[in-house]
Amino acid sequence: MRELRFHRELYRGESVDEAIKVYAPYATITPVEHETHWVVKIESKSAARERKIGDEMANYALGLTIRNQGV
């Protein structure tokens, strides 16, 4: 299992939620409530696949966050 911790001051919650929706068909993705981070647990067939999905999801969440910031 791979765990991603998106800091709440750097990532928009809506962007993380959207990223979870997009990559949900490729792995079991579980969001977990945390005080300072949006924590996401990813489970898939292999560690390599979990890593790949995690990386892609993080990029997607960051891209959406930046787009909504208007930078």
Partner: protein, 185 residues
């Protein structure tokens, strides 16, 4: 984990096992907007992950989507990524600072553009407009009309010619005055 030559290990390092480069930044030097801006440049060729380990620090983790197979070449590639990212961060931070400094000017220009796009004033607007006010103060007399400016010269010459009729002495004095006025103008 290996360090990068010329950069302290607590600022940037390369992790070959995880195939990534990690850069730690002082949050007081780099605003979050510059972090986003720099990250956006890298997002197509790398996986970028941002974090804030504490209130004063920001962390960027960059993993190239395609990394060299040879460990030495991979290390060199990651070093290059760190250098490029550091440069991009400085550029973004500087651009952000300029934007902040020019914010008032940008807002004024935008406001003028918006006001201009509203079109010419209607007849009712012009009827209500108060034209009695002075346009602006001009203590140095710069805003003279062409007629005002050259009428003085004409008047001075006319006075000078009148003086010639009276006496030669007064005509010389009048010419000198006219010349002096011309020089002043």
């Amino acid at each position: 984990m290996s360090t990068i030559e010329g950069i302290p290990a607590d600022v940037a390092h390369v992790d070959l096992d995880e195939k990534r480069a990690v850069l730690e930044l002082d949050a007081t030097l780099y605003p979050v907007e510059s972090l986003y801006s720099a990250a956006f440049v890298f997002i197509d060729r790398h996986y970028v992950f941002l974090d804030r380990p504490d209130a004063q620090k920001l962390r960027i983790v960059v993993t190239p989507k395609k990394l060299e197979a040879d460990p030495e070449a991979a290390k060199e590639q990651l070093r290059g990524v760190v250098g490029e990212l550091a440069n991009e961060l400085v550029t973004a931070a500087w651009r952000h600072q300029i934007t902040q400094e020019n914010r008032a000017r940008i807002e004024a220009v935008t406001l003028q553009a918006m006001a201009g796009s509203m079109g010419p004033p209607s007849l009712d607007d012009l009827e209500d407009f108060d034209f009695t006010d002075e346009a602006f103060e001009d203590p140095l007399g710069i805003a003279l009309s062409w007629e005002e400016k050259y009428a003085k010269k004409g008047e001075a010459k006319a006075e000078a010619s009148e003086g010639t009729a009276d006496s030669p002495e007064t005509s010389d004095a009048a010419e000198a005055t006219a010349e002096a006025k011309g020089e002043e103008e």
